[in-house]
Amino acid sequence: MKIMVNGEPREVPDGTSVAEAVASVTAAGSGVAAALNDEVVRRSAWDDTPLRESDRLEVLTAVQGG
């Protein structure tokens, strides 16, 4: 199925979880948050949240700014 991760299209297997999609863009163990279709997914729920066709996942972290 096709999803968007940080604005980039990706082809992933059916049943891919938020945790797996996040792991594909960062190995950071902390300081990272994810939003699925504009809703925050708590880290504790990443493993149990499956992605669906056309989902938009945003994976953010802190950078220099402000």
Binding site: N6, G7, V25, T26, A28, S30, G31, V32, A33, A34, A35, D38, V40, R42, R43, E58, V59, L60, T61, A62, V63, Q64, G65, G66
Partner: protein, 240 residues
């Protein structure tokens, strides 16, 4: 002190240390898989608390989502709320700002809004439940200093929450003036991170904030139209 604009992590670390700050801003952005080193590692090493901001957001919706992501990523419910109107001035959009502040306060955030120097808007943000108000001195990164000291004084006089002068400071005297006007703190980044010697400017800012605060609490003399002699006229040798 904020973290924006530093040319390297090493320079940032030196400047943050020299500034004496205990709290620093970071922005939230998409992870860059090629990034080397994290600003969070620097802050952890320095023992400085992190204050996420919503820089770059143009709507209340964007700002609220960014704040929630920051809370999840960084484990803090404090947020510097920024909702800007356009990329040219980076001035706050007052309507979107108030809307975002209301939603975040309702959601349990400690909201520190970057706002214009409008005393009415500052009052409204306090009434909404913001923990502080952070009026700009002048546009972000402009270094123009405090363009409307009168408005800052009005905000300070009426505020029941801390007032933090945010944005536009160019050099140490600007920071001192902010404190002399009665602000509780200043928040700055560009003036330090883009100075020729960031660590030296950071130290200057630290001293300026302390000097300005001391001057404020010492009570300045009233301004007078004419001179007032500081030496007595009595007993002057007249030569006669």
């Amino acid at each position: 002190m904020g973290t924006g604009g530093a040319p390297s992590m090493r320079v940032l670390r030196e400047a943050l240390t020299a500034s004496g700050t205990e709290l620093t801003t970071v922005a939230m952005r998409r992870v860059d898989p090629s990034a080397r080193g994290s600003v969070l590692d620097v802050l952890k090493e320095c023992g400085i608390r992190v204050l996420p901001n919503t820089a770059g957001c143009f709507t209340a919706g964007e700002a609220v989502l960014t704040a929630k992501l920051a809370r999840e990523a960084l484990g803090t419910s404090w947020v510097k709320l920024e909702v800007i109107a356009d990329e040219h001035t980076l001035l706050p959009d007052p309507i979107e700002l108030a809307e975002a502040a209301e939603q975040l306060v309702d959601d349990g955030f400690t909201v520190l809004p970057y706002t214009s120097d409008d005393p009415v808007l500052a009052r409204r943000l306090e009434q909404i439940g913001c923990a502080a108000v952070m009026p700009l001195g002048s546009p972000i990164g402009s270094g123009l200093g405090i363009r409307n000291p009168h408005n800052i004084e009005l905000i300070v006089e009426r505020a029941g929450v801390p007032v933090i002068l945010d944005a536009g400071l160019g050099t140490a005297s600007d920071a001192a003036l902010a404190m002399e006007l009665g602000c509780d703190a200043v928040l700055l980044a560009t003036a330090v991170t883009r100075a020729q010697s960031p660590a030296r400017m950071a130290a200057a800012m630290r001293h300026a904030v302390e000097a300005g605060r001391l001057a404020r609490t010492a009570g300045r003399i009233p301004r007078r139209r004419l001179a007032q002699a500081s030496s007595p006229f009595e007993g002057l040798a007249t030569g006669g």
